[in-house]
Structures are given as structure tokens and as C-alpha cells.
């Protein structure tokens, strides 16, 4: 199995499309960092307009590495599924398109092992992309903008909130957030692999994955009670941005943030379970259909 995984990773590493995602992430991060370095203070002043002197933070230091990473992740983690689909959607269909699937399946290896190797390779690709993102968006931003307490702007129900997290309480939240994002994006990878089983060219499953994510995201953002109760709980897209929960710090009775706390851990835990269940269902279905598939390509 390890040998199969190595082979899959080698093949991924040799394909030019693999690096599109890394280039896209680097480009977006650089644009954000350049924009905020040039004129970030105006943005911060606008956001803190209503806050007055509530926060014990030097406004010039509010734009720091931690804050920058949060802003970048807010944008990037919505777009990343498209980049994951580029690689995972190609897993089986790309082999069928090249004609290598029939050669691959005449080797004495079970189909379960082959698709499992492809799934784990996609998982490792997702993790590699997130690590790259962490290096670019977090560590590079920390170098450029420095480190200080972090401000989070949040809309909760009808009200806007600004949360302050002390600088020594931030890093573990990022580690947890990236871990959560890895699980969320693995759902996309599993979905793309499932769709890939049915296709004989890569374009179909990639576009289908992106379309499903877009449609489900739109439905997840429709605020109608009947959809809230009956559909949203079952959509994986309702949980993709659950990583933000790690930055929603709990407060005491006097509205003072409690260091090391999370406002709603059970919600995050449930989201993780639901995402893992989606991975199980999508991957299980992919294995089942792949085992039954007649290879006619």
C-alpha cells in the first residue's frame, strides 16, 4: 500500500496541473500582503470606526501577521475546493482518459487498494496545499507585518462583534483551524474522486465537483427556516467554514475574553463528525462503484 501511495504521489508531482493550486495560492497571498502593506491602515480604521477606544490595542499594530492570515483564509478557503477538485477529480478519470486505467487494473492489485492509494494521495496533496498556505499566509505575514494581539470582526445574528485574542493565545487556534480545514477539504477530494469513477475524462468530474460545491454553498447561505431545518444540516458546505469557530473566543460575564477558550466547542465537534461522515459516504461509494465498474476505456 505504501508503495502504491508513493507511486501515486510521484505521478501527481510530475503533472504540471498539480502546481496550479500552489501558484494561485501564492499569487492571492502576495496580492493581499501587498495591498495591506500599502494601505491596510485605512481598512483597519474603517472596521474599528464603531469600536472607539474599547480595545486595548495599538491600531497601527492591529494589522499584524495573525490578522492577515485570518483575512486571507476567509477568502482562500472558499476558493480552495476548486483547486482540490483539479487534482482529485482527475484521479480515476484521468487514468481512463490516458488509457492507463486498463493497464493499471491488469496488475495484481485490488481495486480497493488502487482507489485508496489515490484517495490518500489526494489527502496528502490537500495537506501539502494547506501547509503551503500556512507558510505563505501565516508565517510570511508574521515576518512582514510582525506579531501582536489579533482582532476578529464577526457578524453574529443581527449584531457585529469585534473579538480580541491575545498574541500568546493565537497559534494553537491556527493549528486547529488548519486541521479542521484539512478535514473539510478532504470532503471535496472524496466527492471529486467519487465523480471521477464515473467519467472517462477529467473535465466532467472537476466541473461537476465545483458545481455541486457552488450549489450547496448557495443553499447553505439561504436563510429560510424550512431550509435551515431540513436541508442545511445535511449539506457539507454548511460546515466548510467551521474552522472560524476556533477564533470565536468565549467571554465571561463581564464580556472579557477567556484565554484558551472556544465559544462553542460542541458545534465544532459536531461539524467535524458530519464532515468525516461525508468523507466516509463519498469514499465508500467511490470504492463500491469502482469495484463494479467495467473498464471499457
Amino acid at each position: 500500500m505504501l508503495s502504491l501511495l508513493q507511486i501515486e504521489l510521484y505521478k501527481i508531482s510530475k503533472r504540471p496541473r498539480t502546481y496550479i493550486a500552489f501558484i494561485a495560492v501564492a499569487a492571492i497571498v502576495f496580492i493581499f500582503q501587498f495591498a495591506f502593506k500599502a494601505d491596510g491602515q485605512s481598512y483597519m480604521n474603517l472596521m474599528l470606526q464603531s469600536a472607539g477606544d474599547t480595545f486595548d490595542i495599538d491600531r497601527s499594530k492591529a494589522i499584524n501577521g495573525y490578522f492577515m492570515c485570518y483575512i486571507i483564509l476567509n477568502t482562500l478557503l472558499i476558493q480552495i475546493p476548486i483547486l482540490i477538485a483539479l487534482v482529485a477529480g482527475d484521479a480515476i478519470s484521468g487514468e481512463a482518459n490516458m488509457g492507463t486505467l486498463r493497464l493499471l487494473l491488469t496488475k495484481p492489485i485490488s481495486r480497493q487498494k488502487i482507489i485508496a492509494a489515490k484517495f490518500f494521495a489526494s489527502l496528502l496533496y490537500t495537506v501539502a496545499l494547506l501547509i503551503f498556505m500556512a507558510i505563505m499566509a501565516l508565517f510570511l505575514s508574521m515576518l512582514i507585518f510582525g506579531v501582536d494581539d489579533m482582532l476578529i470582526f464577526r457578524v453574529k445574528g443581527d449584531e457585529s462583534q469585534i473579538l480580541q485574542i491575545t498574541k500568546d493565545d493565537v497559534m494553537w487556534r491556527y493549528v486547529a483551524a488548519f486541521g479542521y480545514a484539512a478535514v473539510a477539504l478532504t470532503v471535496i477530494a472524496a466527492l471529486a474522486i467519487l465523480l471521477s469513477v464515473f467519467a472517462e475524462n477529467s473535465i466532467g468530474p472537476i466541473i461537476a465537483t465545483v458545481c455541486i460545491v457552488i450549489v450547496c454553498t448557495i443553499v447553505s447561505n439561504i436563510n429560510v427556516p424550512i431550509i435551515d431545518k431540513t436541508i442545511k444540516p445535511w449539506l457539507f458546505t454548511s460546515y466548510l467554514v467551521g474552522w472560524k469557530g476556533f477564533f470565536y473566543i468565549a467571554t465571561d460575564e463581564d464580556n472579557v475574553p477567556i484565554k484558551g477558550s472556544i465559544e462553542n466547542w460542541p458545534a465544532i465537534r459536531n461539524s467535524l463528525f458530519i464532515l468525516l461522515a461525508h468523507i466516509g459516504v463519498f469514499f465508500g461509494a467511490a470504492v463500491w462503484f469502482f469495484k463494479k465498474k467495467d473498464i471499457l476505456s
Partner: protein, 310 residues
């Protein structure tokens, strides 16, 4: 000879369409076994069922006397295959492709092993080049190297000469003969190029519309005593009249435009002599390609385009 592979009542349905119907055949160790049939006859579907690429709707496959059940990879361990086109990872080098598929075959892989295989198919000097720069013939040879790298007992080649130029076809033929005679491999080779099968196979099966028409030794099936001979003279009507009144009458087929006799090939000189003695001028005598004729007669001349008559 020991029986290596046996298919019993192999059947494959795609919806209501029966692609292969109750097909039964046997392949012995050391055979070059020709799998003959027109396009769409069910050759590739059958070979894909042997290779677990397509799940049979019914029937059984036995390899070395053992029934191959679902998930049983023992046949695949001992088999190398090139199915239709020799497709591989075009963005990887010949070395990488062979290395990957050798590892997937479950053998211990070394640089020497890979280079020896590439040397055998004449690609050692191009080992570092990416496959997308290769000609069809080179890809076909690399496909053969991939099929052979784990030293299988059985090689399955589906239409191996498709898309090759005459030199490539000759190279492929020599390679198959080497596999059989020097390396003692059992080879199943499918083709609709009848002349290729005739040149390389010792046993064969002919299938049509998914069903076996005949199976046996090529030499026996191509009995020279049953050759179809086409004759064209300056006066075919007179030639037919003369033949109808001679020892050749019972062998006559065809019409005045196209005189045909089904006869022993060795008797052709005597036929020519008897016609020239009757002052008939012979324009041509052509023993029809025996296997092609045989094949067409067995498949009821199931042509799709009317033959051109001049």
C-alpha cells in the same frame, strides 16, 4: 501440452446486448493462440474478462487448473497484457513508466532489471525520454516491456499491430515469435488481420457476434486440400464449359465472371495444364488467402460493403 487457461461458458451482457455468448476455449502452455474475429465480434470483451477489467455476466475461468474467483489475482500475477493501444503516462519517461508498472506487479525492482527490459525492446537509449515523444511502434514495444517485466507465464496482446507501419508489424511479429520460441511464453494474440494470425499462431479460435465459430490447430484449419482457387481466362464461359465436362466439375464454384474451384493446392498445376491443352489462355490463377476465405465463409460473408466487381 499442459492446459494453462480455460474459459467455460463465458458470457457478457451489456443491458440487452449479448457481447459474448457461452464462449468456451482452451489455451495450452506454449501456445501462440490466435483470437480471430471481425471488429465488434467480442474479442476485446473476452480478453478484458480474462484480465478482470470486465466482470463476466456468467461463466468460469480456470488458470493452471484453478478456478479464478472474484478478487483472486493469481491469473493477473502470471499475466502480462497490452490491451488495444499501448497507453501509458505520456508525461513520464520510459524508465519511469516501466519502473511504476514493475513495482505494481509486485516484484523486486532494480535499475538493472528495468534497463535490461528496455534493452530487450530496443528502447534503452531512449530510457530518459518522456513517452509523448515516442512513435506508435516505440510505445507498443514499451507496452510489451511492461507486460513482460514480471516474467509472466501468459502474455495477452489485443490487436498488437493496430496503428503500426509495415516495419512495426514485422517487429511485433518477430517479438511474439521470440516470446514463444525463445522465452517459452504462452501468448494470446487477438487480431482481425488474418494473415498475422496465420503467420504466428499455432492454435486459434474464430468468434463472430460473441460466439465461437471454430477452435483448433491453425495447420489443420488451413488444410491445403481445401484451398479456394480463382481463375481468370480470356474466355471464361468456354473455360467453365470445358471444366464442367472434366474431372474438375465437382470442384467448381462461382460464375463466369469469377471462376472459383475449391481444391487441393497441389492440383493447381494439373488444372492449368488441362486448360491450356484446350487452347484457353489463362490470365491469372490465384489461390485466395486461405484463412481470409475460411474466415469469411465461416462468418457467412457478413460483409458490410458490397464487394467491388470490375
Amino acid at each position: 501440452m499442459n492446459l494453462l487457461l480455460e474459459a467455460r461458458d463465458l458470457t457478457k451482457n451489456f443491458g440487452d446486448f449479448e457481447a459474448v455468448k457461452n464462449l468456451h476455449f482452451t489455451v495450452n502452455e506454449g501456445d501462440v493462440y490466435g483470437f480471430l474475429g471481425q471488429n465488434g465480434a467480442g474479442k476485446s470483451t473476452t480478453l478484458r474478462m480474462l484480465l478482470h477489467l470486465i466482470k463476466p455476466s456468467a461463466g468460469e475461468i480456470f488458470f493452471s487448473g484453478k478456478k479464478i474467483g472474484e478478487g483472486d489475482n493469481s491469473l493477473l500475477k502470471e499475466t502480462g497484457a497490452v490491451i488495444e493501444r499501448p497507453d501509458m503516462y505520456k508525461y513520464l519517461s520510459a524508465y519511469d513508466n516501466l519502473n511504476i508498472f514493475a513495482k505494481m506487479s509486485g516484484i523486486k525492482v532494480s535499475r538493472t532489471l528495468i534497463m535490461d527490459q528496455l534493452e530487450m525492446v530496443g528502447l534503452a537509449e531512449r530510457s530518459k525520454d518522456v513517452v509523448k515523444t515516442f512513435s506508435q511502434g516505440m510505445k507498443q514495444r514499451l507496452g510489451i516491456a511492461i507486460a513482460l517485466v514480471h516474467q509472466p507465464k501468459l502474455i495477452i496482446l489485443d490487436e498488437p499491430t493496430n496503428g503500426l507501419d509495415p516495419q512495426g508489424i514485422a517487429d511485433m511479429r518477430n517479438l511474439i515469435l521470440r516470446l514463444s520460441r525463445e522465452m517459452n511464453k504462452t501468448v494470446i494474440v487477438s487480431s482481425h488481420l488474418l494473415s498475422e494470425i496465420e503467420l504466428i499462431a499455432n492454435r486459434m479460435i474464430i468468434i463472430n457476434k460473441g460466439q465461437k465459430i471454430i477452435e483448433g490447430n491453425v495447420a489443420e484449419l488451413l488444410d491445403p486440400s481445401n484451398t479456394l482457387v480463382e481463375i481468370n481466362t480470356t474466355n471464361n464461359i468456354e473455360a467453365i464449359i470445358q471444366m464442367q465436362n472434366s474431372q474438375w466439375a465437382s470442384l467448381l464454384e462461382g460464375n463466369s465472371k469469377n471462376i472459383k474451384l475449391r481444391m487441393n493446392k497441389d492440383d493447381v498445376p494439373a488444372l492449368v495444364k488441362s486448360l491450356t491443352e484446350k487452347d484457353l489462355h489463362i490470365l491469372s490463377v490465384q489461390p485466395r488467402h486461405s484463412l481470409e476465405d475460411y474466415f469469411l465463409s465461416l462468418t457467412n460473408n457478413d460483409t458490410h460493403v458490397e464487394p467491388f466487381a470490375n
